[in-house]
Symmetry: C2
Subunit: 335 residues, 2 copies
């Protein structure tokens, strides 16, 4: 057990869910601290029935903290984390900044919890779009060795933070009223539209969000031979990312085998009965810690291909839940 | 030139656009007729500045019609078309009913106009999700022979007709107001949701909409060796289907070659500059007769793969425009 735990970015969209999960899952520690930028520092919040004042995120704040779960922008994570580690604090980081650092384990507890052991003060939690895909890939990779993945995403506005959802709601209301709306987060209206760009142009015509799905997948599996072709698209959905995934395996996996493999994997739930219109969708997966798979079928275009549809709450398993599970694993060895 | 032209289903979503296109494109005929079911028959509409009474869709109506462009449900097309053909009328049919009949050519004028010549009274126009994909595939197939396509769609509610858009708007308004809404067309709320089923369960876990993308593609190219793995998804967009497409070709096609090939294809427009956030989206492609491609990039998961994003107005090139182009081709040999 860690004596003193902090949530960094405690008042943000993901930080709020981290607090809720720590309460719901009865996370044990002697002391809890809640840190945020100067915008929120000084405000009060309630945790486990007790009132806490949000502390300012600054190096000295980590003097008495053993473990921090942090959800901040990349540039904030770049600056504060080395200072926190210097002061003996271990950080579970949600940001993208440290994920590809060779000294930093990139962890999905159900997939590669053992890799936590070698950490040097920083443990990264993967990008939301990667986490649900890799979790679904895991049992297939173990059973048949995945050679290639083709994935197209349908990503929710909550992935762009609270302002993303404000844009979706504000833009949609304005559209229906025939009024103008100035988007804060998105380069184009997201109301009743699809935007085929998340992040910036990164590599050979792929975006930074897409390349995260390539690099992070290879790092988590420790296998750079797994090829990934991603297309990341923002859709007018408030919460939960959906993914159309096709995997090609070395050894053929039948639909029945895949269904059993998925169902036996902790954190995965199979919702798969097309005849009866049963499949995961954002509306039936939101506010759930699990990752859901359905539309499982043989790829009719390739011998050893398997296609499926995967939905997960990007703020939960895609972010807060995964980080809290890492903290739980480190506390008591279970994810 | 045909003496007498009819629009069947003249008051529906697609029929309305067909009328508009016939006006805009100055389609020449001595007589125009507008047919619809008993629900709309007897109502009046204006065409080329003249008032017409909508006639009842019944066999006798075709006694004096040479060419009809029809947009009706499949069961209506099944019943009325043989009667119309018996009376000497040629039908350009938007429905799904006749498309896979070996005696019926399935036509995208830019792709296989020559196949019109062998028709026996019925010419089918492909499903909207197929048309835009096949049009984009055409120059790549000619240049490098496509072996396989993996496609995930982001389909608009207008594909489910006027009631589909009523559901999107009504459902969204209700959602924002915190009220209930009873959907007419969709099995689940489409507001702020993705539904990974269009059509019914058809073949090995694929839906009827998905299998249309397989069978129709093979028929239009006259090549059953082209393998297609489709995932069709309804998204909360009112109009324009988007598609994330990956093709594998026998001969490698570079990004630069693909861009030139696309740009040289009638009906295709390249919008492709990720650095400057230029790519097609539903909001910038709606009410346009062209099909748009962007996000063109090498598939980083496979030697001869090419990935791109394709958007088209599903009521225009996906339906009305394609049918009117077939009629134009038959009238004066140009699409």
């Amino acid at each position: 057990m860690f004596r003193s735990i902090a949530v960094v970015g405690a008042t943000g969209a993901v930080g709020t869910i981290i607090r809720q999960l720590l309460e719901d899952r009865k996370f044990q520690a002697e002391e809890f601290h809640f840190l945020a930028s100067s915008r929120s520092a000084g405000s009060e919040l309630t945790f486990n029935g007790k009132t806490y004042t949000v502390e300012l995120l600054e190096p000295a704040a980590f003097d008495n903290i053993d473990l921090a779960i942090a959800s901040t922008p990349d540039d904030v994570a770049r600056d504060f984390i080395p200072e926190a580690v210097k002061r003996g604090c271990t950080i579970i980081d949600e940001s993208g900044y440290w994920r590809m650092d060779p000294k930093v384990p990139l962890i999905i507890p159900e997939v590669n919890a053992a890799a936590i052991d070698g950490h040097q003060g920083i443990i990264s939690s993967p990008n939301c779009s990667t986490t649900q895909m890799v979790l679904a890939m895991k049992p297939l990779h173990d059973a048949g060795k995945i050679r290639r993945v083709v994935v197209s995403t349908y990503q929710a506005t909550s992935g762009a933070g609270v302002a993303g959802n404000r844009d979706l709601e504000g833009g949609t209301r304005a559209n229906l009223a025939g009024e103008d709306y100035k988007y804060e987060t998105f380069a184009y209206p997201i109301a009743f539209n699809c935007i085929p760009q998340i992040g910036s142009a990164k590599y050979k015509g792929y975006t930074s969000e897409e390349m995260k799905m390539v690099y992070e997948t290879q790092k988590i599996f420790g296998d750079e031979s797994i090829q990934v072709c991603p297309t990341c698209v923002r859709v007018p959905v408030a919460n939960c990312h959906s993914e159309s995934i096709l995997v090609e395996t070395e050894k053929k996996i039948t639909v029945e085998e895949a269904r059993e493999l998925f169902a036996a994997t902790p954190g995965l739930v199979v919702m798969d009965d097309l005849e009866n219109q049963v499949y995961p969708m954002p509306i039936n997966c939101t506010e759930n810690d699990d990752t859901f798979v359905g539309r499982i079928r043989e790829d009719i275009s390739c011998e050893n291909g398997l296609a499926f549809w995967c939905v997960s709450d990007n703020l939960r398993k895609g972010a807060a839940t995964n980080a809290v599970q890492i903290a739980e694993y480190m506390t008591n060895g279970k994810g």
